[in-house]
């Protein structure tokens, strides 16, 4: 299990990805699934840093927890930024994703990649903190 406080700063993203990458390797997750989880965690963390903290004039950190059972590898990100449930973001439809790039609105693309890339996504709000839970099934 990993427990680590990470500065809510875009410069901390590579370190965050490294923690997740190491956990994926230890858990024996294949390369494609590992990439999807790393990308999902990165996208959610990027959102927390930019929208949850910076745009709201707040600062703080992100508490990273990585847990592993026989069946799943779970990454939990907790932050004290603005309350935000990524599941409330409307996902681009197949039609949206087919739009010419000239006309595409890129908002929400990161959240879309995060939510569709993991086997399970959950969000909880407790004690005035956001908790994003991302999990992959283990082989």
């Amino acid at each position: 299990m990993v427990k680590q406080d990470i500065a809510a700063d875009l410069a901390a993203l590579p370190a965050l990805r490294q923690w997740v990458e190491q956990a994926c390797r230890d858990a024996g997750l294949d390369e494609a699934a590992s990439y999807r989880l790393i990308l999902a965690v990165d996208e959610i963390a990027t959102n927390i840093v930019t929208h949850g903290y910076a745009e709201a004039g707040l600062s703080g950190d992100i508490a990273l927890t990585i847990e592993r059972t026989d069946r799943t590898l779970t990454v939990i990100l907790e932050d004290g930024g603005v309350a935000y449930d990524p599941r409330t973001r409307s996902m681009p439809t197949a039609l949206d994703l087919d739009q010419p790039l000239e006309e595409r609105d890129l908002g929400g693309l990161g959240i879309f990649l995060a939510l569709q890339g993991v086997d399970r996504f959950d969000y909880q709000r407790c004690d005035d903190r956001n908790r994003n839970i991302l999990a992959m099934n283990l082989p």
Binding site: L10, A11, L13, P14, R17, E31, A32, Y35, I38, L39, D42, E43, T46, V49, T50, D96, L97, D98, Q99, P100, L101, E102, R104, L106, L109, G110, F112, L113, Q116
Partner: protein, 114 residues
């Protein structure tokens, strides 16, 4: 994380090689360096063979480059895309709008063919 951008010219084409991870921290710098390299009517090969990671922040840079090519009647070919990045571009509907090549040589061939 810093990314490295190397620019060279081959056959009147600007070849831009990017090395590193393109994420929310590095994408703005890449955007600043990359976009001025595509002149109106010009041709650019973006060699992403040295990029092993790209988040949606990187897709946004690709989108801006694409739009710039469209409005300026320039041409862009992406070379050396990692399989994982190709997957991300497929899921988001980006891939079909780009000309892609396995490497820089093939990208130059694709540009010559028009």
């Amino acid at each position: 994380m810093a990314i490295q951008v190397d620019v060279s010219n081959q056959d009147e084409t600007t070849v831009v090689a990017v090395t590193g991870a393109v994420d929310g921290g590095s994408a703005p710098g890449l955007q600043t360096q990359l976009l001025p390299l595509l002149q109106p009517g010009g041709a650019l090969v973006l060699n992403l063979g040295g990029v092993n990671y790209m988040s949606s922040a990187g897709l946004r840079v690709l989108l801006l480059l694409y739009r710039q090519a469209m409005t300026g009647k320039g041409r862009v070919v992406l070379a050396g895309l990692a399989e994982s990045i190709k997957d991300t571009m497929t899921i988001t509907g980006f891939l079909k709008f780009f000309t892609v090549a396995d490497n820089v040589e093939q990208a130059l061939v694709a540009l010559r063919r028009g």
